[in-house]
């Protein structure tokens, strides 16, 4: 006896309705709001205000810089960690579990943890001072020290979100049939060659998913930057927040939100195209 054909649709209906009500409706409202000229026919007023703001170019630059630095490092790190996990026979689960702990920490909390480490009265300052390497409390996280501030944010982001990439890659590794690596061994391939010519191509779909997930999240970076840098390092979502709550101009905030969405969509399209795989190349 086969199940009626409508069953799958009925099963996804609740999720679809949930998404429609809580995601698509607000999304459409946000887009409409961003083009709202406040009673005038000038539908681009919010976008012009956004582009003319003194933090706009800085926010774009900082956000792209962060994504450009953080995502490749995280991919490389996660790849290394995933390979190590593959080779482990005992204790694998415990290591994986420890590595994914940061996933359970909210991003604002993670930012505050790193703030406690890096601020001028923080742990790192104290330790370096007691070792005699610093003369006194040294600020690293203000507008006069943009490089250390950026490094601090990059560190916190790597700590916080590498596990997202790791989990997707670990799952991907487990999908690769053992026969391939056994065959490579039989034919005497070195491990680097096997990794480059067998593992990487077979892992491509997972890398693609991990990159899309991580990049979209990285463009939305906010809480960590806000906790560590406050106003010193404007990023796109931070500007949306400031326009919404501090400047109380919901239209410009919506314009920022739409811009972040467009950038994320564009990044997704680029990954889908650049890392596309033909079905026949997969096991």
């Amino acid at each position: 006896m086969t199940a009626p054909r409508w069953i799958p649709y009925a099963l996804i209906a609740p999720a679809a309705l949930f998404l429609a009500a809580l995601f698509i409706v607000p999304l459409v409202q946000t887009i409409l709001l961003s083009f709202d000229g406040g009673g005038t026919p000038d539908h681009l007023a919010n976008y012009r205000k956004m582009a003319g703001d003194l933090n706009f170019t800085l926010a774009i630059r900082n956000t792209f810089l962060l994504v450009g630095v953080v995502v490749p490092i995280q991919l490389a790190l996660a790849m290394g960690m995933a390979v190590m996990l593959q080779k482990m026979s005992t204790g694998r689960d415990i290591v994986l579990w420890i590595w994914t702990i940061p996933l359970g920490v909210s991003d604002l909390a993670a930012g505050l943890v790193w703030l406690a480490l890096l601020q001028n009265s923080g742990y790192l300052n104290t330790v370096l001072f007691q070792l005699g390497l610093l003369d006194g409390p040294t600020p690293w996280l203000n507008a006069e020290t943009p490089v250390t501030l950026f490094v601090g944010i990059v560190l916190a982001e790597i700590w916080r979100a590498t596990a997202v990439v790791l989990i997707v890659l670990v799952a991907g590794f487990q999908l690769i049939p053992k026969e391939y690596s056994e065959a490579a061994e039989v034919f005497g391939a070195r491990s680097w060659t096997a990794f480059r010519l067998i593992t990487l191509p077979l892992l491509k779909p997972s890398i693609q998913s991990a990159l899309i997930l991580r990049t979209v999240l990285a463009f939305e970076v906010f809480a960590v930057v806000y906790a560590l840098g406050g106003r010193n390092m404007p990023v796109l979502v931070g500007e949306a927040y400031a326009w919404q709550y501090e400047n109380q101009n919901y239209g410009v905030a919506a314009a920022y939100a739409v811009l972040v969405m467009v950038i994320s969509l564009a990044a997704t399209v680029v990954y889908l195209y650049a890392l596309r795989t033909r079905p026949e190349t997969q096991p």
């Binding site: 001028n120 409390p137 203000n142 106003r231 501090e246 400047n247």
Partner: protein, 427 residues
């Protein structure tokens, strides 16, 4: 037997919760953006509201507060009968028509002796009374006594000028090895209020009209010299009590409520003085929190009774003693104030009674553009002081933004600018 027991307990608890919320629903809901910290909220519930009609005191941050009021207004389902918030936070509520005119209540509390100027603020430029002044405060300078030996020669800490502040900051930085002046220029700090309420009017006797005058140009030049002595972490300071207590900053400007903890903790370490003066006087900005009744409030009569209770001289004195906001009515503060609050009270008195005092009012009539108005000042500061852009072109560009905001809201001038008939001109 454990399962039924557990279920029974759960049912009981649920019933308890239900009755509690039912009882609550009948209480008057008083929503406030002020006195939010748990200890202060408890003081309100247990001490300040004693003898008042049965009230549920609820607090919310300013931005969710506006959103909640707008949501209640748009949904037509009102739960809040009384709101307590700052002048600038009540102003946007008027733009979506969420507040009930309360001229009747103004008549009832007329005998309390609330100064006419404060009552006028409560009209928000609308011609009708929209809120009743509740408590007031202002911005002061808190000075750690350790900084006093470094005062420039001939300077009186109670009558500083901006030039002396710059010199003092420089001396402190040179002698102590770190920059010891502090301003709350962080994301939640009130630094924009310093620029518009203290600094600019002290040089120009204006907040809007003379925004790009030659005097303003001089002021920004002078302030760059002050900033050279300001701690580089200032752009993350929200409440100055923290860097003061940490000893990171020795001379700080902030709202009295945001330095109170430092003063309470170590009243013997600090003096509280008036902010510095410029060529046109010692400008300061009185802060007013007001009480307003939402349109369609479920218990308007109760709210009126509560306003009467909160503006009684006795309640006002208790409020000052317990939470450090000062009376808006004619009431004498008791002699046995806690040492921290006493310091604050002295600082406020010094600010208000300084010979060269110049009152700069909170913006009036800007509707929901108050946030963007603050941004004009903060952006100007960022560009001139932090990014070192030439002063004249920045002032010209930002004056245009300011003019756009004023024209869009048609707000007439407020003190210290001369009254205007149309929108306040930006020269």
């Amino acid at each position: 037997m454990t399962k039924p027991l557990f279920a029974g307990a759960l049912a009981l608890a649920a019933a308890g919760l239900l009755t509690a919320s039912a009882a609550r629903a009948q209480d008057l809901v008083f929503l406030s953006t002020q006195l939010r910290p748990i200890e202060e909220a408890q003081k309100v519930r247990e001490v300040i509201l004693k003898g008042a009609p049965k009230t549920t005191y609820v607090v919310d941050e300013p931005s969710p507060f506006t959103v909640r009021m707008r949501a209640e207004q748009e949904a037509g389902k009102k739960t809040v009968s009384l709101v307590g918030a700052l002048h600038g936070e009540l102003q946007p509520l008027l733009t979506f028509n969420a507040l009930d005119p309360i001229d009747d209540v103004a008549a009832k509390v007329a005998s309390r002796g609330i100064p006419a100027g404060l009552m006028e603020l409560g009209k928000l430029g609308s011609g009708k009374q929209v809120y009743i002044p509740w408590m007031q405060a202002t911005y002061v300078m808190v000075v750690n006594k350790k900084a006093l030996p470094y005062l420039p020669a001939g300077a009186d800490v109670n009558a500083l000028t901006y030039a002396q502040l710059a010199e003092w900051g420089k001396a402190l930085a040179e002698k102590t090895g770190s920059r010891k002046l502090g301003f709350p220029a962080g994301p939640k700090g009130l630094f924009a209020r310093f620029l518009q309420g203290n600094l600019l009017p002290s040089y120009t006797k204006s907040m809007v009209t003379e925004f790009r005058s030659a005097a303003a140009e001089t002021m920004w030049g002078d302030f760059k010299a002050v900033w050279a002595g300001v701690n580089p972490n200032a752009s993350s300071y929200d409440f100055m009590q923290e860097p003061l207590m940490a000893g990171e900053v020795w001379v700080a400007w902030d709202h009295v409520a945001r330095v109170k903890d430092a003063l309470q903790q170590a009243p013997n370490d600090y003096v509280v003085v008036a902010p510095p003066a410029g060529p046109k006087g010692r400008a300061y900005m009185p802060v007013v929190a007001g009480l307003a009744i939402p349109k369609g409030a479920p218990d308007r009569a109760g709210a009126v009774a509560l306003i009467e209770h909160l503006t009684k001289p006795e309640t006002q004195v208790i409020t000052a003693a317990e939470v450090g906001f000062f009376p808006v009515v004619d009431a004498k503060l008791p002699a046995d104030l806690s040492p921290g609050v006493k310091l604050l009270a002295e600082g406020v008195a010094r600010t208000q009674t300084a010979k060269d005092a110049l009152v700069a009012l909170l913006p009036i009539g800007l509707g929901d553009k108050g946030g963007e108005f603050n941004k004009v000042y903060f952006d100007t500061f960022q560009r001139i002081v932090l990014r070192n852009e030439p002063i004249r072109p920045v002032l010209d560009a930002q004056a245009e933004v300011m003019r756009g905001l004023i024209d869009a809201t048609k707000a007439p001038c407020w003190a210290p600018d001369e009254p205007s008939t149309g929108p306040c001109p930006v020269k």
